[in-house]
């Protein structure tokens, strides 16, 4: 197979110029081929500006398209397809403005295997996002903001950054298949370890960091050649299936002396089975990342066309744990497209013990904020629709390794925004919980929800509004 590299096909004519391949002739600079906004919308069901521009882009690149952010597939349901049905006559509400509602969240305490389960003040934490994908200042701000409100952050794939360890009171150390600079010392500095078998943005495929972001510091931390387009492995180097992973988990417990919880992060694909198997393998916390999960860079087709929606994954995962008798022993964390406390409350009601926010926390840092307009324009985008994390030229300094851009994250102000945003989200959750008569956010339940569409009911097993029946669950 490798020989194919050495004997490429030769055309019987000279190779074309890249400009000719890109259809530059007769064009205008602000309407390049391969970008949906360059095309007018016709009536074809198949040949929309999106599909035409996609073909022009693929025929220019000779590879799949890559971008950051999350799914553009509008067939995915949203959290807005569910609504709360607070206490009225059958149930008694709590005073939303006055009475207290417990938000303490313990992760990894159920198995009895772990000396130091994670005790969080709120049921929300900051998702694993690597230094590399994010700037060091963004990582630090997330750490300080999370620490202020008593929750955790997670390293992501790129190894443990000293700035983040300093900033983050509780830090989960991620063990991805690529194992960048993973060693015993770092493991023992972590408050928990997260084994990654997949992510919602691109389940079944490894991490991606384009060369623009593989700076000297990032390359050094990952022991990669400077500026390579880093495409990480998806299979772990030292185990294959779930039975081997069970041995791996024991190794990690031995290495960390049974002190810290072991998380397992997966993309939501077949959570009913995957979660049951993960629980059997002996992890303490299972993170299910839905198809709406974000990323710094991914083949676009995986963002748009893989995985199942977060709302459906949570229900399936919770039922799997219930069926195995593992609810209470293994904690369940939900992630993927969570925007507000309302979304988070819906996740808790569907069965999550906690939620993880990634893109939302980046937006609190300043992602897509309306400033530095010229720098957005240089990327062919503007505030509100930017998904150009993969370019490394983030106009607001969140997803970049360029020193002058990175400075645009004012660590003090960004930390405070993250802390306030997490506080506001928590207030939103407790407001809904109290309206539903719950003195702890963890008492939210499926009965507190109704679906606004048959589809959402079928996706989640939540009763349809009105008929009060589950649609074919």
């Amino acid at each position: 197979m490798a020989d194919d590299l050495k004997t490429p096909y030769e055309y019987p004519f000279p190779a074309p110029s890249e400009d000719a391949v890109a259809m530059v002739d007769g064009g205008v600079p602000d309407r390049p081929a391969g970008v949906p906004s360059s095309y007018d919308r016709g009536d074809s069901v198949s040949w929309t500006p999106e599909s035409i521009s996609e073909i022009h882009a693929l025929s220019r690149l000779g590879r799949y398209q890559i971008r950051g952010f999350n799914s553009f597939n509008h067939r995915l349901p949203t959290f807005d397809d569910l609504t709360f049905v607070p206490a009225t006559m059958t149930r008694l509400p709590l005073e939303g403005y006055r009475e207290s509602c417990d938000t303490k969240t313990v992760l990894g305490g159920g198995s009895g295997m772990v000396e130091k389960p994670l005790e969080l003040d709120i049921p929300i934490y900051i998702a694993s996002m690597s230094f590399g994908a994010l700037s060091a200042s963004a990582k630090a701000a997330l750490g300080y903001g999370a620490s202020k409100v008593g929750t955790l952050t997670c390293t992501g794939e790129g190894g443990m950054l000293t700035d983040e360890r300093r900033a983050s009171k509780t830090l989960v150390y991620q063990m991805t298949p690529s194992r960048y600079m993973l060693d015993l010392e770092h493991l023992r500095m972590a408050d928990a370890i997260e084994l990654v078998v997949g992510q919602g943005a691109k389940p079944g495929t490894g991490g991606l960091l384009l060369g623009m972001k593989v700076s000297e510091r990032v390359a050094g931390m990952r022991s990669l050649p400077l500026g390579v387009d880093q495409r990480s492995t998806v299979r772990h180097p030292d185990f294959l299936g779930a039975d081997d992973m069970q041995v791996k988990i024991e190794e990690l417990r031995e290495a960390t002396d049974y002190q810290v919880p072991i998380f397992l992060k997966m993309g939501a694909t077949r959570p009913r089975y995957d979660v049951a198997i993960a629980a059997k393998a002996g992890v303490d916390v299972i993170v299910v990342d839905g198809a709406e999960g974000g990323t710094g860079a991914s083949p676009e087709l995986l963002l748009n066309h893989t995985g199942i929606p977060t709302i459906s994954a949570i229900r399936a995962a919770r039922e799997a744990l219930d069926d195995c008798g593992m609810s209470g022993k293994v904690s369940l964390v939900a992630a993927g497209g969570i925007r507000t406390g309302t979304d988070a409350a819906k996740c808790l009601a569907l069965g999550a013990d906690a939620v993880m926010i990634g893109t939302a926390s980046m937006i609190a840092l300043g992602c897509n904020s309306p400033r530095y307009f010229d720098d957005y324009a240089a990327l062919g985008t503007s505030p509100g629709k930017c998904h150009h994390c993969h370019t490394g030229l983030c106009p607001v300094g969140v997803a970049t390794q360029e020193p002058e851009l990175e400075e645009r994250v004012d660590v003090a102000a960004a930390s405070e925004r993250v802390a306030r945003y997490l506080t506001a989200m928590t207030m939103e959750i407790t407001l809904l919980a109290k309206a539903c008569g719950k003195s702890s956010v963890h008492n939210l339940e499926v009965e507190d929800l109704r679906a606004l569409s048959m589809q959402a009911s079928a996706f989640t097993g939540v009763k349809m509004a009105g008929i009060d029946k589950v649609y074919s669950w």
Binding site: V228, D229, D238, D244, E251
Partner: protein
């Protein structure tokens, strides 16, 4: 230094490793008996430890090692010396899959053959295999050296980012994006010096040094055919 003996048998591994660590903390050289190919023996040991496993051991022996010297009398299962940062592991028999996976430093010396994916995702250090290395050895390694004296199975050094795979003896096939290059005399001297230090001096070896061809370091449309393979 005094000697201590720890017996594994069917005891819980946590208890065994605790006993090993306690004996090492007292400054003993530890011999571990009745190992029964159990998994996770000698994981994350302290620097300067010396211990020997009698018989064969299972998965992750010497995993996450940071400075211990470990000897295994016979064979090891998967992922011996996984993520070792420093220290030395000597395996007198054969090694299963993923020997030295994601290793950062130190020396892993295997007297027999090593299974598939030897040195997978390796980031540094040396893996010395006196026998043959299995298929996909060195897969996506970043740095470090894998040295095989008894040849290599298929897809050798597949998708290397960096690092080197040195093979004396036949290579069944090269992996994607790897190439054989002529080693410099000082590089050969460095490898031979390592071997001499292990009692394996032999100036007559015919070395093939394999490195990354660097074609897959970057996305390029003209390499679309290469893309179909990864």
């Amino acid at each position: 230094m005094s000697e201590a003996i720890v017996t594994v048998g069917d005891r819980p591994i946590r208890e065994v490793n605790k006993e090993i660590k306690a004996a090492l903390a007292e400054g003993n050289t530890v011999t571990v008996r009745d190992t029964r190919s159990r998994h996770n023996l000698g994981v994350g040991l302290p620097e300067g430890s010396h211990l020997k496993f009698e018989g064969s051991v299972g998965y992750y022996c010497g995993g996450l090692n940071n400075g211990a010297h470990i000897e295994v009398e016979r064979n090891v299962g998967w992922s011996v010396g996984e993520a070792m940062a420093s220290g030395e592991i000597l395996v007198n028999g054969y090694a299963g899959m993923s020997a030295g996976a994601a290793m950062l430093g130190g020396l892993l010396h295997i007297r027999g053959d090593a299974g598939p994916r030897c040195g997978v995702a390796m980031k540094g250090g040396d893996i010395l295999v006196e026998g043959k290395i299995g298929y996909l050895s060195g897969f996506m390694a970043h740095a470090g050296r894998i040295i095989a004296l008894g040849g290599a199975a298929g897809a050798c050094a597949d998708s290397l980012w960096g690092g080197e795979v040195w093979v004396a003896g036949p290579i069944e096939s090269l992996g994607v994006d790897s190439k054989v290059v002529e080693p410099e005399p000082e590089e050969i001297a460095s490898v031979e010096e390592l071997l001499a230090g292990r009692g394996l001096a032999d100036g007559s070896r015919d070395w093939q040094k394999i490195v990354s061809a660097q074609r897959l370091w970057h996305f390029e449309s003209r390499d679309a055919s290469a893309w179909l393979m990864i």
